[in-house]
Structures are given as C-alpha cells and as structure tokens.
C-alpha cells in the first residue's frame, strides 16, 4: 500500500478515529486504525467494539492495500507536521512497518496485521431516514447534559431517541434523565422515520456524533435497528451499538398540572444562580428560590462557608413559594435557553418543576427540587 494525502485532510480523518479508540485497553489491535487504500480513496476505520467510525478521504493512491497502525501515534505525528504538507504513507508488509514521510520528516511505525482488526458485523437496518445536521445537533446538544453516569442504571447512560406524539403531531424525540433532571427535545418527524424503533444512544456515541454535526448544510443519513444505530455523512460513517435496556416511561414524570408560572430572563437568572452559589458548600450546592409577586429572591445559606442573596425581577402572579434546587441543575437547564425567556412551572416545594423556553413545548426540562 502506498498513497499520498494532504496533511489537513489526513488530520481530520485520523482525529475522528483516534477519539473512538479507548486510551486504556488491553487488546493491542483496538489501539490501531485500519487504513485501506483503493481507487482514489483511503478509509480510516477505528473501533472500541461498541462504536465503529469509518472516515473516507481522497488521496493519490499509488498502490492499493491495507494495514493497521496506532491511531494515537499516527494522529500525534500528523498533527505536528507543518500545514499544507503532502504526506506519503507506505506500508512495508514484510517488515511490519508503515513509513510516514512528509518533507524531510520520516517516521516508521509498527503495524499489526489487518486480518486481526475487528470489523463490526453489518446489520439489517429497519429504518433509514435523512435529517439536517442542525436538527440532530439540537436534539442531542439540548438533552445530553441530563444523561446519567450511574452505572447501576445503565439504561439511563444515553439519550433515548424515538418517535412520539408531540403537541403538533408525530415527532422525532430525544430524552435523557438521571432521575434528578430530565430533558425532552422534539423535532419534526423526518420523512421515512415513522417506523424507527426507539433506541438508547450511549453517551460516548453522542459525543462522537457531535463531530459529524458541525456543518449546517450537511444532511445526515440515520439508520436504526433494534441493536445498532448508524449516522453517516458522505465521508464519515459512525456505527454504534445501542444500550440494551428499556428506557423508563418518562411521560409519567413530566408534570402537566403545574400552575404556578414564573417567567424570567434566562441569562440574568443563570448569572444570579451562579453568583449566589459561589458560597454554597462544594457538595450540596443548594439554592433557595423564594417567590412572591413579580419578585424572586435567590439565596444560599451554608453554615460553614457563608450566605448570599440576590433579588431578580420576574413575572409571577401566584402565591408565595419557597423551593430549593441544586444550583448545577438550575444552571444547566437555564443555559439551554437561547432565544426567549425561561418559563418555570412550579407546583409545591416537593414536586418536580418544569422549565421551557417561552411557550415552546418542543424542548422541556424537568428538575427535581431539594430540601433547603
């Protein structure tokens, strides 16, 4: 195998591969990227056995072939090469070495046989549909903060992507929760997506997927089966196993009957929460919200570190209410709001609170209060 490729193109392709590779793994081949050159393209394939990414790039292929080499090392080398350099990769199968040449630099890397590289079994996808990158970006960006890290509830360690009934018809919906807060984000249902089985997309896959979604113009092809999900652009294909579990019935959790409505500028609110939380104890980060007519008083009282209070003008016309929250959770949901005011719907100080942006129900957040 021998091919030449522009440094910038190579960096991008290898970067995606090396981020999938697990840093600490006991199987040497899994640290490697499988490089396959034929025709005018070279593909770079990496896997951690749960996720597989294949990145195709244009190159001048002199001799077709394939090999595997350490993804991290190759990425480090290419990253350090000067911008605009033409990089030539030559595989010497006899010596088990891959030569990387650029200008006057020359590297020789140990390879492992491509036959040992585990290629993810292909799957029959029940549903394939196309969705614009910005739509998927919104669905996952606004929900991923609520993914649980608790391994005993493994079925919460991802984003539940499924088809549901929204306020205005069928929607493509992403839900994540850790039991303390929940995010439910809807998008118009893409054509052909109706029959999609609901899948829990693992946290790591959500992180890898994000790199495919930066281009506003891109159309992403999404393929879903009971066990796998695939996201593809013309050059990158990300395939992932989904979490084998049942996502809990979240609809019971979303309070529909909360009547006490508070509207507040999300930016001001987040800044105030952040300021008063400065004195809260590192561990609990509890903030108290005291509401009366058109006035919100945020306060923190931490016996061993101090106290803080801040007043905000809000729109509120219900009875007085005092309710406590974890400051981090409030900040996270407030920062999801980017266009309009944040609307909070409270019930009592012990019940879940709902938050949305203006009257837009296509993105709602639920947060559990805490005793203060």
């Amino acid at each position: 195998m021998k091919f030449s490729i522009e440094r910038g193109v190579l960096v991008k392709a290898v970067a995606q591969a090396q981020s999938v590779v697990e840093r600490r793994n006991t199987i040497p081949i899994l640290a490697n990227v499988l490089i396959e050159a034929s025709g005018e393209t070279v593909s770079f394939r990496a896997t951690d056995l749960d996720i597989e990414v294949v990145d195709k790039a244009l190159a001048q292929v002199e001799q077709a072939g394939s090999t595997t080499v350490s993804a991290v090392t190759l990425h480090e080398i290419v990253r350090k090469l000067p911008d605009g350099a033409l990089v030539t990769l030559t595989d010497d199968a006899g010596k088990g070495r891959l030569t990387v040449e650029a200008g006057r630099s020359m590297f020789s890397l140990a390879t492992l046989p491509k036959e040992d590289f585990p290629v993810m079994a292909s799957s029959e996808y029940q549903t394939t549909f196309k969705a614009p990158a910005p739509v998927l970006r919104r669905l996952f960006d606004k929900s991923k903060f609520a993914i649980s890290t608790e391994e005993t509830r493994y079925y919460l360690n991802g984003v539940y992507m499924h088809v549901a009934d929204g306020e205005e018809g069928r929607v493509l919906r992403c839900v994540a929760t850790d039991g303390h807060r929940l995010a439910r984000i809807d998008a118009p249902l893409p054509a052909e997506a109706e029959s999609m089985p609901g899948v829990i997309v693992p946290r790591k896959t959500v992180g890898e997927l994000r790199k495919l979604l930066d281009d506003d113009e891109a159309e992403i092809t999404v393929s879903v089966s009971e066990t796998k999900v695939r996201f593809a652009t013309p050059t990158i294909t990300l395939t992932s196993k989904v979490i084998d579990g049942t996502f809990p019935d979240y609809s019971r959790v979303i309070p529909m009957g909360n009547t006490r409505r508070m509207e507040v500028d999300a930016g001001d609110f987040a800044k105030a929460v952040d300021r008063v939380a400065t004195v809260s104890s590192e561990r609990s980060r509890a903030v108290k919200l005291a509401l009366e007519e058109d006035k919100l008083v945020l306060s923190v009282n931490a016996p061993d570190s101090g106290a803080a209070e801040e007043e905000l003008v809000v729109a509120y016309a219900d009875e007085r209410l005092e309710i406590g929250f974890n400051a981090k959770y409030l900040l996270e949901i407030a920062s999801q709001v980017d266009r309009e005011n944040a609307v909070f719907m409270f019930n009592s100080s012990g019940d879940p609170t709902l938050m949305r942006e203006g009257n837009d129900t296509s993105a709602i957040y639920v947060v559990m209060p805490m005793r203060v």
């Binding site: 608790e150 391994e151 005993t152 509830r153 919460l156 929760t177 850790d178 039991g179 303390h180 807060r181 929940l182 809990p248 979240y250 019971r252 959790v253 104890s281 561990r283 609990s284 509890a286 406590g324 974890n326 012990g350 879940p352 639920v366 559990m368 209060p369 805490m370 005793r371 203060v372």
Partner: protein
C-alpha cells in the same frame, strides 16, 4: 522523685510502697507531674466485658470471635498465655486452647461500655480522640487547675473508677506526645501505668525495633530492611534529606519519630471515614436470594449506625470475598447522599446483581462512605422512583416504632431470608 499511689491516689516523694495504704502499685517518675498527653487502652476489652457479665468465666480462657470460620477478635489474658492472638484463625486458636470458651461478639454491649468510658474521659478533657471502641488519646495539658490535680492523678483515678465501677481494666501511657503515649500504654500492660519522660525519650527508643513506629507495616518494614534499618538507632544515623529522598513523606515522619518528636494534635473528632458492616457465612453462598437477605440486614445495620451518629454517605461500597479468598469491591456514588437503609440497600443490590455470577462467596459487606452531616442528605427525590419517598416515610415510621418497642418490634420480610 514524684510518686503516685494508683490504689489510694496518694501523692508522695519516692518509695516502692505507698506510705499511706502500703500498696505496691506505685508509679514514680521525675516528670510525673509535668506530662499531659495520654493514651488509654482497655485490656482485652471484649473478653473483659464478657468476664464481667459472666463471673464464672473469670479463670477460663475466653475467646471472642465469630462462627466456625471466623478469626479471633479478642483473647483474654488466660488464652493469650496459651498463645492465642488477635486475628488468628479460630481453628488454630482452638488447637492451642481446646478448652477455650468461644463467645460471639456482642458489639452493642461493648459499644455501650465504650460510650460510658468515653464520657468519663470527656469529663477530664474535651480533647479525647478515640481510636476504636477500647482505646483513645487524651490531651490533659492545662487541666490541672480545673481539676485541682495533675494529669497523672486524673488518669489513675479514671482507670481505678473503670475497674471498680465498670469492671474493666485499662492501661495508661503518659508522655509528651501521642507517639510515645501510645507506646507507653503497651509497656506495662495489663492494668498498667507507664511514663516516658522527655529526658529518657531517646534512651527509651534507641534499641526498639522500627516496627514500633506507627505506620511501619509490612511494605515499609521491608523497604527499611533493604536499607539496613532495623532499629531506631539505625534510623538515627540517617539525615533528614536522605530519608526523604528514599522514603518520601514517610521518611520525614521516620526522621522525627525516631527522635521521639511528634507534633500531631489530639483531635477530638477524628472524623469518621465510613460506616460499614460485613459478615462471613458458615458456608459459601452463591444464591442471590440468600445474599439479598444478608444484604438487607447489613444495610439496616449500617443505616442504623449512620442515623445514630447523625451522618449520611455519598458512596455505597459492596464487598464480596470469593470462596478462593479473592476480594471484590464495587462502589457507586449516589447523586443524593443518604442514610436510609432502603436507598443503601438498593444501590448495593444493583452492584450485587453485576457481581453475583462470580460467586460463591464466603463474605459479604456493605459500607457507606464519603460521609457528611445528615442535614445534607436525602434532600432530593428521584423522578423515576416516585415511591422512594413513600418508602422513606415507612422507614422513618419503622425507626420510630423500634425506638419505642425494640429492634424486633417490626421487621421486613426481606430480613428473614
């Protein structure tokens, strides 16, 4: 030389017997009235409590320890003469001492006696640092005027009172820092009173083995051995920089402790690190339902102790020992710290479900760690488990009933497995 009769607390100027009551139990030392850091260590504590409660055992060898496969927790002095030691496997102890009376530990009783002793120490000084149920440091400096007597007299009075009123003997080590006080309490055991003054500190330490130093266990001892350091006097030949270069922060400690220098304060609240409970089975268990019963009972015990202490924990640890003695520990961090048995049990059960296929097990244990005050715990509900609040209320009601009618008044069916 100042002297004190441990029998009648008479203070006098030297002599082998007390001039007042003729008792030979005299402690005499040049610095006797000047030293204020003490270590009190009860003698064969668990065994002493059992002998106190069952006087017919007084002259018999008594071993406290659990079950057929357990280890010796405490051996009374009669059993110790026969070679029985703490942490020895029970079968071996019984080989050495076949006529021993083996008693299962009654931790609640020992804890109660310990509380009484602690309260007595706290009458003398607020600076009491318990190391376990049966030993504690006390800083008695500056209390002489308050009590109208120097620390040595207070300590002699303390152990005399423990013996007369509680039936428990203890040994006192009195010195000028914690390190030496702890060593001193071992010198004259049992029912002893030993003093290490400033003047003889270096003479006293010189020929002692390095393992006398707190923190020098197997690995450090080996490392010291390789460096040719076996006794304290070997250590004295090294300068500070060399020791630090070779042994890191431990080197610094070795340097100072070898010279009898220890600046650690007696800290009243040493800060509990974790609350845990474990049990060794009579026969190895792999059945999840049987394990589950043990798990629940231990969760209740741990939770009960946390509630009694007014604390809660953020991490739950499950400990399993396999039949081949390999230890598995699994830990989970809770988003909301807890002191409830229910939440503790559920978290541990989640861990057990993942590990159960590695059984059978000979031991199971549950612990609550990363502790904090209970006011910071159980503050937030679980969206996905709306019944959790109901169960928490049931647990509080159960606790109230038990408080009134005893621990067996109400139990969960799960506890019977």
């Amino acid at each position: 030389m100042p002297a004190l009769c441990r029998n009648c607390l008479h203070e006098f100027e030297s002599g082998a017997r007390c001039p007042k009551c003729r008792s030979p139990r005299v402690v005499a030392h040049d610095e006797l009235w000047d030293l204020g850091i003490a270590h009190m260590d009860c003698d064969a504590f668990y065994a002493s409590v059992e002998k106190r409660d069952r006087p017919e055992l007084a002259a018999k060898p008594v071993i406290i320890g659990g079950g057929r496969r357990g280890v010796v927790s405490t051996a009374c002095y009669v059993a110790r003469i026969r070679g029985v030691r703490s942490a020895m496997p029970m079968f071996k102890a019984l080989e050495l001492c076949p006529d021993a009376v083996v008693i299962k530990p009654r931790m609640e009783v020992y804890a109660e006696v310990s509380r009484i002793i602690r309260a007595r120490m706290e009458e003398l000084t607020p600076a009491v640092e318990p190391l376990s149920l049966d030993e504690a440091f006390m800083d008695l400096r500056g209390t002489a005027r308050l009590h109208g007597a120097p620390p040595a007299v207070l300590l002699a009075r303390l152990v005399r009172g423990m013996k007369d009123e509680l039936g428990i003997t203890g040994s006192i080590g009195l010195s000028h820092n914690k390190f030496l006080a702890k060593i001193a309490s071992e010198v004259d055991k049992p029912n002893g009173f030993a003093v290490i003054g400033r003047a003889e500190t270096s003479d006293f330490l010189r020929d002692k083995d390095v393992s006398i130093i707190w923190g020098v266990g197997g690995a450090t001892k080996e490392a010291l051995d390789r460096a040719g350091i076996r006794t304290i006097s070997d250590l004295l030949r090294w300068d500070e920089a060399e020791l630090v270069a070779r042994f890191g922060s431990m080197g610094l400690r070795l340097f100072h402790l070898a010279r009898g220098q220890d600046t650690r304060e007696v800290k009243p609240d040493r800060g509990l690190k974790s609350v845990s409970n474990e049990t060794t089975f009579d026969e190895d268990i792999s059945d999840i339902d049987l394990l589950d019963g043990h798990l629940w009972r231990m969760a209740e015990k741990v939770s009960g102790r946390a509630k009694a202490k007014g604390i809660a924990g953020r991490t739950v640890t499950l400990k399993l020992k396999r039949a081949d003695f390999r230890l598995l520990t699994r830990r989970v961090t809770l988003t909301d710290p807890t002191q409830y048995a229910d939440k503790l049990y559920r978290a541990a059960r989640g861990l057990l479900d993942h590990a159960v296929d590695q059984g059978p097990f000979r031991l199971i244990g549950v612990g609550l760690g990363d502790l904090l005050d209970e006011s910071g715990a159980d503050r937030s509900g679980d969206l996905l488990d709306p019944d959790a609040e109901k169960r928490a209320r049931a647990e509080r009601a159960t606790d109230a009933i038990r408080q009134k009618f005893g621990a067996d008044a109400i139990i969960k069916g799960r506890a019977l497995r």
